[in-house]
C-alpha cells in the first residue's frame, strides 16, 4: 500500500533543490538588476567638484579666485527617524521654512527619493562648522564641499561675467552631458567664453554606507574614485590698476573705455559705465542681487565696449582719408575749400590739405573726399557709379575690422554696420539711391555703426601701420602660456602701410595743434589722436568720442573712449583717453586739473 511513497519523498526533495538552484541561477546570474540595486543600496556616488581656474591680470595680480562653499543634499530614501525639531535648531530655520523646503523639493519635476537632491545651497564655512558635528544624526543628508567665485576688486564686472548654477534650459541643451543639475557654469563674460578651460573635470568618490545611510568608508580603498582636475588658470592682458582708474574716471557716466596693446591685441582695460560690483553676483545673495541689477534702468549688465553700437563721428575721417589715398582720389597735398553750404563745419579754416583737414576735422573736405571715392566716373549712370564706388569703399573700411564682430573672447559682441550697396537697396526698398542720399557717411554719421572695441582696434591698427591682432582679454591659458590660436594671427588691412604714416602724422597734428590740443596733449610723449562729436537728439548733448595711441614710435597703448551725452570729443573723451595713456605709460597722472574736470563731469559749461 505504501509502495512508491519513499521514492515520492526523494523526488520532492530533489525537485525542491533544483527549483531553488534554477531560481537562484536567474536572480544571481541572469538578472543583473540585483547587482545594480545592491550598488545603489550600499554605494553612494559623491561628486568632487573641481576648483575653477583663477584669473589674474597682466602683472600677475589676482582678479578672480575661489572661496569654499557647502551645499546640503538629501537622499530621501535614506532619511530615517528624522528629528525635525533638532534639524531646525541645527540649521537655524523655522519649522515653516523646513516644511516649505520639503514641499518645494518634492514638487520639482526631476525629484526622486532615490536621487540626491539639493536641500540647502551655498552654506558658508561658518554654517558648515556649526552643522558638521550633527550630520551623523541626520542620515540621508550629505554635505558637499565646492567653491564659489570671489573677486579681489569691484572692477571689470562685465568682462569677467559671473557664474551661477546651470539652468534647466542649459542642462537640456548640453550635448556633452558633462553637466549635472546644481553644477556651476559661466553665464557671461570670460567665465562663459572660457568655460571649457576654467571648469576643470569633476571627480567622483564612491563611498560605502550602511542601511542607516551612514558612511562606512571608501569602495575598495578608493580604487574607482576619480580625483577632480582643477580648471586652467587664465592670465588676462588687463592692467588692474589701469582698469580701476578707468572705472574711477567713468563714474557717473555712460559709455566705455577700451585700451589695447597694439603689438599683441591684448585688452588692457575694458570699462563699461555704469557697472556693478561682481561680488554681488556670487554666493547666497546671487538671485536677489541679480534681479536688482538686471532690472536697473541704467543697464549695468549691458557691456558697452562690445555691445553698444554707436555712430563713430569724426574719428571715421582717418579711415576715410586712408581709403581715399589708397584709391588714389586724393594725395596728402590735395586741398579742398571748406564749403559749408552742403555740410556744416566748425573752427576757422578755409582751404586745408589732408593734414589740416584732419586736424581741424573739416566736414566739407571729407564730403568731397567721399564723393571722389563713390563717384569715380567709371560708368555714366550716377546711380551705378555710386554703387561701384560704395562697393570698393565698403571693402576697404571693412578691412579695418569694422562692420563685423571682431571675434574677441567675450560672448555677445555686436558687429556694428558698414553700409554696402545691398544694405541701401534694402533701406530704400528698391528705389534708386546715389551719393547725395548717403553723403553723411563721409563724416561718420548716417548709417555707420561701430562698437567701441572696433574703435580701439582701429587706433591700434593705425599704431601698427596696417595690421591688427584681434583684441582679446586672455593672453595665457593654463600651462600653455599662450592665448587661443586665433589671437596669434595678424590681420592686414587693404591699405598700404605708407598711408598709415600719413594718418599718424595727421593724428599727431590733432593732438598738438588741432581739436585735441587742449586736453589730449602730454608733455613727455607724442600722442596721436582724433576727436569725434557724434550728433545726438537735442536736447541731449552730443556723444564725446576720442581714439588715440601713444607713443608715436613703438606704440604701447591704443585707446578708444566713448562718453554718451557729454558733448564735444575734445572734452570728456579726449581728457579721459589722455589720462589713461598717462596712467599706463607713467604709472601716475600729473594733471589733477584734467582729472578734476573729468570727475566733475560738467563738459558743456565751457564753450569751445
Amino acid at each position: 500500500m505504501n509502495e512508491g511513497r519513499k521514492e515520492l519523498f526523494q523526488l520532492i526533495i530533489v525537485v525542491t533543490g533544483i527549483i531553488f538552484l534554477v531560481k537562484l541561477f536567474f536572480i544571481q546570474i541572469i538578472d543583473t538588476r540585483y547587482a545594480q540595486l545592491a550598488d545603489s543600496n550600499a554605494i553612494l556616488r559623491q561628486p568632487e567638484y573641481p576648483v575653477r581656474g583663477l584669473i589674474t591680470d597682466r602683472n600677475g595680480k589676482l582678479i578672480v579666485y575661489n572661496t569654499p562653499e557647502y551645499k546640503l543634499e538629501v537622499l530621501l530614501k535614506d532619511v530615517k527617524n528624522f528629528d525635525s525639531v533638532k534639524f531646525c535648531k541645527v540649521f537655524a530655520m523655522s519649522p515653516e521654512d523646513l516644511r516649505k523646503r520639503f514641499k518645494e523639493m518634492k514638487a520639482r519635476k526631476e525629484f526622486s527619493p532615490y536621487k540626491p537632491t539639493l536641500f540647502l545651497d551655498q552654506l558658508s564655512t561658518i554654517d558648515f562648522a556649526r552643522i558638521q558635528d550633527y550630520l551623523d544624526e541626520f542620515p540621508g543628508f550629505y554635505v558637499l564641499a565646492r567653491t564659489t567665485r570671489a573677486y579681489t576688486s569691484p572692477a571689470l564686472a562685465n568682462a569677467l561675467g559671473y557664474v551661477s548654477e546651470i539652468s534647466k534650459r542649459q542642462l537640456e541643451d548640453d550635448k556633452t552631458r558633462i553637466y549635472k543639475q546644481g553644477d556651476y557654469i559661466g553665464q557671461s563674460g570670460i567665465e562663459a567664453f572660457y568655460e571649457e578651460q576654467l571648469r576643470g573635470t569633476r571627480g567622483t568618490r564612491f563611498k560605502l554606507r550602511n542601511v542607516k545611510g551612514i558612511i562606512q568608508g571608501s569602495v575598495e580603498n578608493g580604487k574607482y574614485d576619480t580625483l577632480s582636475i582643477p580648471g586652467q588658470d587664465l592670465v588676462t592682458g588687463i592692467d588692474l590698476n589701469l582698469q580701476l582708474y578707468g572705472e574711477f574716471l567713468m563714474r557717473g557716466k555712460a559709455g566705455s573705455i577700451v585700451a589695447l596693446e597694439p603689438a599683441t591685441g591684448e585688452i588692457m582695460a575694458l570699462v563699461s559705465g555704469p557697472s556693478y560690483d561682481p561680488n554681488l553676483l556670487t554666493g547666497r545673495e546671487y538671485s536677489s542681487n541679480f534681479r536688482l541689477i538686471s532690472s536697473d534702468s541704467n543697464k549695468p549688465l549691458f557691456n558697452r565696449p562690445l555691445m553698444a553700437q554707436y555712430r563713430p563721428g569724426s574719428i571715421f575721417k582717418i579711415a576715410q582719408a586712408m581709403t581715399a589715398l589708397q584709391e588714389g582720389v586724393i594725395t596728402p597735398d590735395t586741398r579742398i575749400r571748406c564749403d559749408r553750404t552742403i555740410i556744416m563745419c566748425h573752427g576757422a579754416h578755409s582751404n586745408e590739405d589732408l593734414r589740416g583737414a584732419i586736424a581741424n576735422s573739416c566736414n566739407p573736405y571729407f564730403h568731397s573726399v567721399l564723393r571722389r571715392m563713390l563717384n569715380k566716373g567709371k560708368v555714366n549712370d550716377p546711380y551705378q557709379d555710386t554703387r561701384i564706388g560704395l562697393e570698393e569703399w565698403n571693402h576697404h573700411i571693412m578691412s579695418f575690422g569694422f562692420g563685423k564682430p571682431l571675434g574677441i573672447d567675450l560672448p555677445n559682441e555686436k558687429s556694428g554696420l558698414i553700409p554696402s550697396p545691398t544694405y541701401y537697396d534694402g533701406a530704400y526698398r528698391g528705389k534708386p539711391w546715389k551719393f547725395s542720399n548717403i553723403y553723411s557717411l563721409a563724416i561718420g554719421e548716417g548709417e555707420n555703426l561701430v562698437v567701441p572695441i572696433q574703435m580701439a582696434n582701429f587706433a591700434a591698427t593705425v599704431a601698427n601701420k596696417g595690421y591688427y591682432y584681434t583684441p582679446h582679454l586672455v593672453k595665457a591659458i593654463g600651462d600653455d602660456k599662450k592665448p587661443l590660436d586665433q589671437y596669434l594671427e595678424k590681420h592686414y588691412t587693404t591699405i598700404d602701410s605708407a598711408y598709415f604714416r600719413i594718418a599718424a602724422d595727421a593724428m599727431q597734428e590733432v593732438v598738438e595743434a588741432g581739436t585735441g590740443q587742449y586736453r589730449a596733449r602730454l608733455a613727455d610723449v607724442v600722442v596721436c589722436g582724433k576727436t569725434g562729436t557724434v550728433e545726438n537728439n537735442p536736447p541731449l548733448f552730443d556723444h564725446s568720442v576720442f581714439i588715440a595711441f601713444a607713443p608715436r614710435e613703438n606704440p604701447r597703448i591704443a585707446i578708444s573712449v566713448y562718453v554718451e551725452d557729454a558733448g564735444q570729443g575734445g572734452r570728456a573723451a579726449a581728457s579721459i583717453a589722455s589720462l589713461m595713456i598717462e596712467k599706463y605709460l607713467f604709472g601716475q597722472t600729473k594733471r589733477p586739473w584734467i582729472e578734476q574736470y573729468v570727475l566733475i563731469g560738467n563738459f558743456e559749461d565751457v564753450k569751445n
Binding site: 537562484l24 544571481q28 554605494i43
Partner: protein, 423 residues
C-alpha cells in the same frame, strides 16, 4: 558491550554533514556581524559568532548526553517529554518575555530559550510512539483523531504565542502520516486549497477564476460520462472551490493580521512597497541576486555588512551565502541540505521497527519544511515566515532543537539491530 562500540555504529555520514553545516553557519554568522572598522575576531563573545560558538560547544555536550543515554529512554519517555514541553508552552503566556513580536521565550538566567524549538522533537517522539504502539491503525478514525490532537496541541499553544511560522512547522507531520498509510486525499485537498488560495491572490479579479471553473465544469460534464451522481459531485465541487475563492479575500482582510497580510502581498508583488512591507523580500533578493556566480567573497558582501537585510543572522542567513559565495556557494549549501534529507530518508527506511521509522520521517519532514520555507522566502518563492534555516541560523534554541532531533535519530539508528531483538 554494544555500548562500548557505539561510536562505530553511529552514522558518520550524517555527522559529517551536520558538522559541515554548523561550521559554515558559524562562519556566515561572523560575516553578518563583521565590521572591518572594528575588526573583531570570530571568537569575540560580544559578536553573534562568538556566542554561536558557545551554543555549538553546548550542542556537543548535548550530543554526548543523547548518545550516552540508553536508547530505550526515548521510547519509554516519549509521552513524558512531550508532556513537559506542552507544560512549558502553556506556561509561556505567564512567564515568557516578548522578543520580536513573538512571546516565545522563557528566561533562564541571562539566557533565553524557546520551548517551541524543543516541541518539534518532543512531538516527533510522541507521534512515533503513538503510531508505533501496538494496535495502531492509520485507517482508524479514533487513532487519526488522537494523532491530530498530538500535533494540534503544540500548534495551538505556539499560535497563542503569535508565532505562526513555528506553528506551521507541525503541519509537516502530515507527510509522516501519509508515509504510514494515511489516504493521500487530505494532502491533495490541502494542496489544492493552497493552490487556489495563491491563484486567487495572483489573479486580480476573482471573476476570471469563477469563469474558468464554470467552463471547466461544463467541459467535464459535456465530455464525461453522463451520470447524475458524477454531475452532482462535480457541481458541488465547483461550488466548493468558488466558495474557497470568495473566502480568500475574507481570510486575507479579516482573519490574517496586518503583518501576515503584508507578507503575502510582498510575495505577490514586492515592488508595490519596497520600503515598507516589501522591504525584507526586496532586500533579501538584492543581496542574493548581487552575488553573481562566485559571490563577492567572504566578508566582502556590502548588503550583508551594512545591515540592509533585517534579521540576517537568523532567518535571512541564506542571504549572506548568496551574496558572498554566489551561485556556486548556494549550490553547495543546497546540495548539503538535499544530501542530508536524502540520507535521513535512507536512515528512516532502514529502520526495522515502526517507532524508529516514524521518528526518522518526522525529523526528515521537519528539516525539509524548514529548508524549503526558509530558502524559499529569501529568494521570493514563499511568503516571509519567520523560521530558521537549520544549523545556519544564529540562535541557541534552534541549534539545540535541531541537534537533538538529529542525534536522537542517530542514536536510535545505531541500535536498529538491538530493537529488532527486543520486539
Amino acid at each position: 558491550m554494544r555500548e562500548d562500540n557505539i561510536s562505530g555504529s553511529l552514522d558518520w555520514t550524517t555527522i559529517g554533514l551536520y558538522a559541515a553545516m554548523v561550521f559554515l553557519g558559524w562562519l556566515n554568522i561572523y560575516a553578518v556581524g563583521y565590521d572591518e572598522n572594528v575588526g573583531h575576531s570570530i571568537f569575540t563573545l560580544s559578536l553573534n559568532s562568538g556566542r554561536q560558538l558557545m551554543f555549538i560547544a553546548a550542542s556537543v555536550v548535548i550530543i554526548f548526553g543523547i548518545v550516552i543515554l540508553d536508547m530505550r529512554f526515548y521510547d519509554a519517555f516519549a509521552y513524558i517529554i512531550y508532556g513537559v514541553i506542552l507544560l512549558a508552552l502553556l506556561a509561556i503566556p505567564f512567564i515568557g518575555k516578548e522578543v520580536g513580536g513573538n512571546k516565545a521565550w522563557i528566561g533562564i538566567g541571562s539566557f533565553g530559550g524557546q520551548p517551541s524549538e524543543l516541541a518539534k522533537f518532543a512531538t516527533a517522539l510522541a507521534v512515533a510512539k503513538y503510531i508505533g504502539s501496538v494496535g495502531f491503525r492509520m485507517d482508524n478514525l479514533r487513532n487519526q483523531a488522537v494523532l491530530f490532537a498530538i500535533i494540534g496541541a503544540p500548534m495551538m499553544l505556539i499560535l497563542l504565542q503569535r508565532d505562526a511560522g513555528t506553528a506551521m512547522v507541525f503541519s509537516c507531520f502530515m507527510v509522516v502520516f501519509f508515509r504510514e498509510g494515511m489516504s493521500p486525499f487530505l494532502m491533495i485537498v490541502g494542496f489544492c486549497a493552497a493552490a487556489i488560495f495563491i491563484l486567487t491572490l495572483l489573479v486580480p479579479n476573482q471573476w476570471y477564476l469563477h469563469g474558468a471553473i464554470a467552463i471547466a465544469l461544463v467541459m467535464l460534464i459535456a465530455f464525461g460520462k453522463k451520470k447524475v451522481k458524477r454531475m452532482v459531485l462535480l457541481t458541488l465541487g465547483a461550488i466548493l472551490v468558488m466558495g474557497v475563492i470568495e473566502s480568500v479575500d475574507y481570510v486575507i482582510t479579516d482573519v490574517l493580521k496586518p503583518h501576515q497580510q503584508n507578507r503575502i502581498k510582498a510575495l505577490i508583488n514586492p515592488d508595490a512597497d519596497p520600503l515598507g512591507y516589501g522591504w525584507n523580500v526586496t532586500q533579501s533578493k538584492i543581496a542574493i541576486g548581487s552575488g553573481g556566480i562566485s559571490g563577492k567573497g567572504f566578508l566582502q558582501g556590502t548588503q550583508t555588512k551594512f545591515d540592509f537585510v533585517p534579521e540576517q543572522s537568523t532567518d535571512f542567513i541564506f542571504c549572506t551565502i548568496g551574496e558572498e559565495e554566489g551561485w556556486l556557494g548556494s549550490v553547495a549549501i543546497i546540495a548539503l541540505f538535499t544530501t542530508l534529507l536524502l540520507r535521513i530518508i535512507y536512515l528512516a527506511e532502514r529502520q526495522k521497527n515502526r517507532f524508529a521509522r516514524v521518528y526518522a520521517y518526522g525529523v526528515g519532514s521537519i528539516f525539509f519544511f524548514h529548508f524549503a520555507v526558509n530558502i524559499g522566502m529569501t529568494i521570493g518563492l514563499f511568503p516571509v515566515i519567520g523560521i530558521p534555516l537549520p544549523f545556519f541560523s544564529y540562535g541557541g534554541s534552534s541549534l539545540w532543537g535541531f541537534t537533538i532531533l538529529l542525534f536522537i535519530l542517530l542514536k536510535i539508528d545505531a541500535h536498529r539491530g538491538q530493537l529488532l531483538q527486543r520486539v
